[in-house]
C-alpha cells in the first residue's frame, strides 16, 4: 500500500543513485562518444578540405602547364621569325658585299686597263717619235719635224680617247 515514507525516501535514494551513475558511469561514456564524434567530424571536414585543396592545386597546375605551353610556342615562333629575318639580313648583306666587291674589282680592272693603255700609248708615241726621228733625221728640218710630231701627238691623243 502507499507509504509516504517509502515514497519520499525512494525519490531521495534514486536521486543519489542517479547522481552517482551520472558522475561515475555516464559522464565518461558520453565524454568518449563526444570525443569520437568530434574526432570523426574533424577528420571528415579535413578530408573534404584536402580534396578541395588538391582540386584547386590540380587546376592551378593545369593552368600553369597551359600557360607554359603557350609561352613556349610564342617564344619558338618569335625565335623562328627572328632567325628568318636574320638570315634574310645576312643574305642581303652578303649580296650587297659581293656587289660592292664586284664593282670595286671592275673599277680596278678599268683603272688598270686605262693605266696600261696609257702606258702603252705613251710607249708607242715615244717609239713612233724615236722611229720617225731616226727615219727623218737626215732630210727634215727642225720646223717640219716639230710640226709632224705635234700632228702625231694629236692623232695619238684622239686614238687614246
Amino acid at each position: 500500500m502507499f507509504e509516504v515514507g517509502t515514497f519520499i525516501v525512494s525519490i531521495v535514494s534514486f536521486l543519489i543513485v542517479f547522481w552517482i551513475i551520472a558522475k561515475v558511469g555516464f559522464k565518461p561514456l558520453a565524454g568518449i562518444m563526444e570525443k569520437r564524434r568530434v574526432y570523426v567530424t574533424g577528420q571528415l571536414t579535413e578530408a573534404e578540405h584536402n580534396r578541395l585543396e588538391s582540386e584547386r592545386i590540380l587546376a592551378e597546375q593545369k593552368r600553369l602547364l597551359e600557360q607554359t605551353r603557350k609561352e613556349a610556342k610564342e617564344i619558338l615562333d618569335a625565335a623562328r621569325m627572328r632567325a628568318d629575318e636574320q638570315s634574310r639580313n645576312l643574305i642581303r648583306q652578303a649580296e650587297e658585299e659581293s656587289a660592292r666587291i664586284l664593282a670595286e674589282g671592275r673599277q680596278l680592272i678599268q683603272q688598270e686597263r686605262e693605266e696600261a693603255l696609257n702606258a702603252a700609248l705613251q710607249r708607242v708615241a715615244e717609239l713612233t717619235v724615236e722611229l720617225t726621228t731616226k727615219l727623218l733625221h737626215n732630210y727634215v728640218t727642225a720646223e717640219a719635224h716639230a710640226k709632224m710630231l705635234q700632228e702625231a701627238e694629236e692623232k695619238l691623243g684622239e686614238l687614246a680617247c
Binding site: 500500500m1 502507499f2 507509504e3 509516504v4 515514507g5 517509502t6 515514497f7 519520499i8 525516501v9 525512494s10 525519490i11 535514494s13 534514486f14 536521486l15 543519489i16 543513485v17 542517479f18 552517482i20 551513475i21 551520472a22 561515475v24 558511469g25 555516464f26 559522464k27 565518461p28 561514456l29 558520453a30 568518449i32 562518444m33 570525443k35 569520437r36 574526432y39
Partner: protein
C-alpha cells in the same frame, strides 16, 4: 501481501527498507557494469561491453530525440534517461531473478514487522525484491519526473501558464493522470509478474522439490522478463515525452 522490513512501522512515515536497499543495489549493479565496460575505454576501437554501453547511450539519445522538441532538451534529459533506462532494467530483472523471503513466526520489533503485517503475509518477510514492485517507489519516480517537467516548463513561465488552458482546459486532468498512470503502470506490470511467479512457485511440489507448474513458470518468467524490459523502456520514453511536452524552448510549440 508479503511483509517487509520497515522503519517507523507505526507512524505515517513508514519506510520500506527492502525497497530502499534494492534501489541502492540496482544502482550499484548499474555502476559496476558501467565501470567494467569503461575499464579499458578506447576512442578508436571500442570493445565488448563498451560497444553495448555506447549502443545503449545511442538508443537513449534516439528515444529522446523522437519525443523531445529540441536538441537542448535531449542533452538535458540524456543522463537521466540513460540512468532511468539502465536502472529500471536492472531493477525490474532483479525481482525476477530471485525473490528472497524469510519465514518469521513471531513479530520482530527490530525489523519493524508488526503482528498484523505478519498475519497478513502468513509469516513471509521479503528481503530481496524488485524495488519497482513497490507502489510508493514507482509513484515516487513518476512524481519526480512530473516535478522535473514542470521545473523545466517554468523556464518559460508565460508559455507554461498558457499550456494549462490553451488547447483545452481538460489538459489539467493530465497533470494528475499522467504521473499516476506513469507510476502505476510500472508498478502493476512488475508486481503482477512477481506475484504470479510467487504463487506458481509455492504450488505443490512433485517429487518433493519441483513445482508442478514448472512449464508455466518458465513461460511466465520469459514473458515477465520481456515485460520488464519493455516497461523500463516505456517508463523512460514517457519521461522524455512528459519533460519534452513542457520544454517550451522549441520552435513551433503551441
Amino acid at each position: 501481501m508479503p511483509a517487509f522490513p520497515t522503519l517507523f512501522p507505526n507512524s505515517i512515515f513508514k519506510i520500506n527498507l527492502t525497497t530502499i536497499a534494492m534501489i541502492f543495489l540496482a544502482g550499484l549493479v548499474v555502476v559496476v557494469v558501467l565501470r567494467i565496460g569503461l575499464r579499458r575505454m578506447d576512442m578508436r576501437n571500442p570493445r565488448g561491453l563498451q560497444n553495448i554501453l555506447e549502443w545503449a547511450v545511442e538508443f537513449t539519445r534516439t528515444m529522446a530525440r523522437d519525443t523531445m522538441p529540441t536538441e537542448g532538451a535531449v542533452n538535458f534529459i540524456l543522463p537521466l534517461a540513460f540512468t532511468m533506462l539502465t536502472f529500471l532494467f536492472v531493477s525490474n530483472w532483479l525481482g525476477l531473478i530471485s525473490i528472497i523471503a524469510l519465514h518469521l513466526h513471531s513479530p520482530s520489533g527490530m525489523w519493524g514487522i508488526t503482528a498484523h503485517d505478519l498475519s497478513q503475509s502468513k509469516g513471509e518477510v521479503v528481503l530481496f525484491d524488485s524495488p519497482t514492485a513497490n507502489m510508493s517507489m514507482t509513484l515516487g519516480l513518476a512524481v519526480m519526473v512530473w516535478i522535473l517537467s514542470h521545473a523545466r516548463g517554468l523556464r518559460h513561465p508565460k508559455k507554461w501558464l498558457k499550456h494549462f488552458y490553451s488547447p483545452s482546459p481538460l489538459a489539467v486532468i493530465e497533470e494528475i493522470t499522467n504521473p499516476l498512470t506513469h507510476g502505476m503502470r510500472l508498478y502493476g506490470n512488475i508486481f503482477a509478474g512477481e506475484a504470479l511467479l510467487t504463487v506458481m512457485v509455492t504450488a505443490p511440489r512433485l517429487l518433493g522439490w519441483i513445482p508442478w507448474t514448472l512449464p508455466l513458470i518458465l513461460v511466465w518468467l520469459l514473458y515477465s522478463l520481456f515485460v520488464s524490459t519493455i516497461q523500463a523502456y516505456v517508463f523512460s520514453i514517457l519521461m522524455c515525452l512528459y519533460v519534452g511536452n513542457k520544454s517550451f524552448d522549441g520552435p513551433g510549440h503551441h
